[in-house]
Symmetry: C2
Subunit: 319 residues, 2 copies
């Protein structure tokens, strides 16, 4: 071992020694599932995840229930979870009203968001990228004043369902705008999962020129099966924060039946194999993934989860 | 572009400029599916795959139908496919009788096999690794005399369902034995999909010390979701031959309901993104995967396949 990297394997460049996984299943995942779950189930899921060792969980969104009914119980969820000191509980805050909810709910971090694609910004939130960022100025200011961590999440950094290609320059532009708002962490997200490993290397390398690599995170989707090779490429560039969703919760809203968020279990399996520390117990995550998959009556979206659950069952049968 | 490698992306080391995909769906894939298909369907699948541009297809196995009923029509399949000159049609030959069938069926390549795990060899074919290789001596000799290409396939190079860990030394040992038999190509297979990227780098790097890297191939399973990052790691070591299965045909026999062979569509999507040539038309592969998935009445096992089929349907609906 040398400093902050694990020993390199063959041609793999030195990888980060430790990675922070931001578990986004309770918010990003459940919001995209068609089966709604009760507040109690959400609370149990968050508690299971914090028990498993995650240091950052995206819990809910303080958004109007008119727009996102699945997150209408944000205040109840935040009031009911078992708090653990070392865990950063994050919530989405689209506006000042949402920020008030986040403060009342004792969130540790608030998330603001934007797109690297002009077409996506227009279609998704009906304004330009520049306008969307400027709308967050008072939210960011108030969050900082309240002593909260601020995260900026950028969608469509590798492609857009409306305009197709997205330039690296436009990714760098919104990173710079979010940096100016005081973001502590900035997510580079592949919202529709179209990116591949070489593109990830290029975008991440460029991004690290405008924002510290230690505070950049990778949010990859498995729609085309590319999330893990993309994470491997990002690790090789030095990224050490990744988003994932337990049991692969959350489909792809742009292709019915397709996969969305990368499954946390699959990411952990890879990181464990690479000897990278996360502080997370894979078996507890697999149990949490099994729990929520049964609650929403959906096949477990994690390959590692399915394989390990099947192996456990097989061992159980033979004994 | 420089020589045989594409330009490197960021920290990704120079990758091979061209990759050969060995499509194993018709044999390795269908053999592991519980739904059997007719000879006619197998023939159509092989023809669709050769039309799509594959230069190497594993078609069938000349094995006793008592042991593998799914491959009982090997002679008929080989007699009925449309031959394309540039395609290598491979068949498995467990013994001299199988080799005779392969010669009569005008196969271009025969495949012999063994394991890097002593426990797997004993449980799977009831003899030691050394014994299994020596049994192939007359098959290899006769194949060479008949002017056929010879491939040696090594299972359990990254882990074993019975003994757990498999040493790199035991992988190198059977590679050396297969090399001595005159193998033109040798497969390093992760039969149960447990390997991760760093381990792949280490094993491939060691293997390239005892057999030319240009003739080593990687056969990865997606049981734990690791196939694509493992392929990316192997590419970085210089491997330029990979096995994959259209629509992810073939489950994992050691974990019910779990994934087996990596889906060809997902591999191609990554390679296309990396600018690596394969000569294969992804859209035709997706159509072939859709065809065979419908024939066996099973959800398409390729994420890229599902996403692109859904996108096509969506575009179809909106027009």
């Amino acid at each position: 071992m040398m400093g902050d990297t694990v020993e390199s394997y063959g041609a793999l460049k030195s990888l980060p020694k430790r990675v922070k996984i931001v578990e986004v299943g309770p918010r990003d995942g459940l919001q995209a599932e068609k089966t709604q779950v009760s507040t109690q189930v959400k609370v149990e899921l968050v508690n299971r995840l914090s028990s498993a060792g995650f240091e950052n969980i995206e819990v809910t969104s303080f958004v109007s229930p008119k727009w996102v009914p699945q997150m209408g119980d944000a205040a109840d969820v935040m009031a009911s979870i078992n708090r653990r000191d070392r865990v950063i509980y994050s919530v989405l805050t689209p506006n000042l009203r949402g920020l008030e909810g986040a403060i009342e709910g004792r969130a540790d971090e608030v998330v603001i968001f934007g797109a690297a694609s002009e077409a996506f910004s227009q279609r998704n939130i009906n304004c330009s990228i520049a306008e969307s960022v400027s709308r967050f100025v008072p939210v960011a200011k108030a969050a900082k004043e309240a002593g909260l961590r601020l995260r900026g999440s950028i969608s469509c950094c590798f492609g857009c369902p409306y305009q197709g290609e997205v330039s690296v320059a436009s990714v760098l532009d919104i990173i710079a705008r979010f940096a100016e708002l005081g973001c502590d962490e900035i997510d580079i997200a592949d919202t529709i999962g179209v990116g591949t490993a070489g593109q990830v290397s290029d975008v991440v390398r460029a991004a690290s020129g405008v924002f510290p690599i230690e505070r950049l995170s990778g949010h990859f989707h498995d729609t085309y099966g590319q999330a893990l090779p993309n994470i491997l490429a990002a690790l090789q560039e030095g990224i050490s924060i990744f988003h994932s969703s337990v049991a692969g919760l959350g489909g792809c809203p742009y292709a019915r039946g397709a996969t969305g968020n990368v499954a946390t279990e699959d990411v952990l399996y890879m990181l464990n194999g690479l000897g990278i520390e996360t502080g997370i117990d894979l078996n507890q995550v697999i149990a949490a993934g099994d729990f929520i998959s049964q609650q929403i009556n959906k096949a477990n979206g994690s390959r590692a989860g399915r394989a390990l659950l099947a192996r456990t069952e097989a061992i159980g049968c033979s004994n």
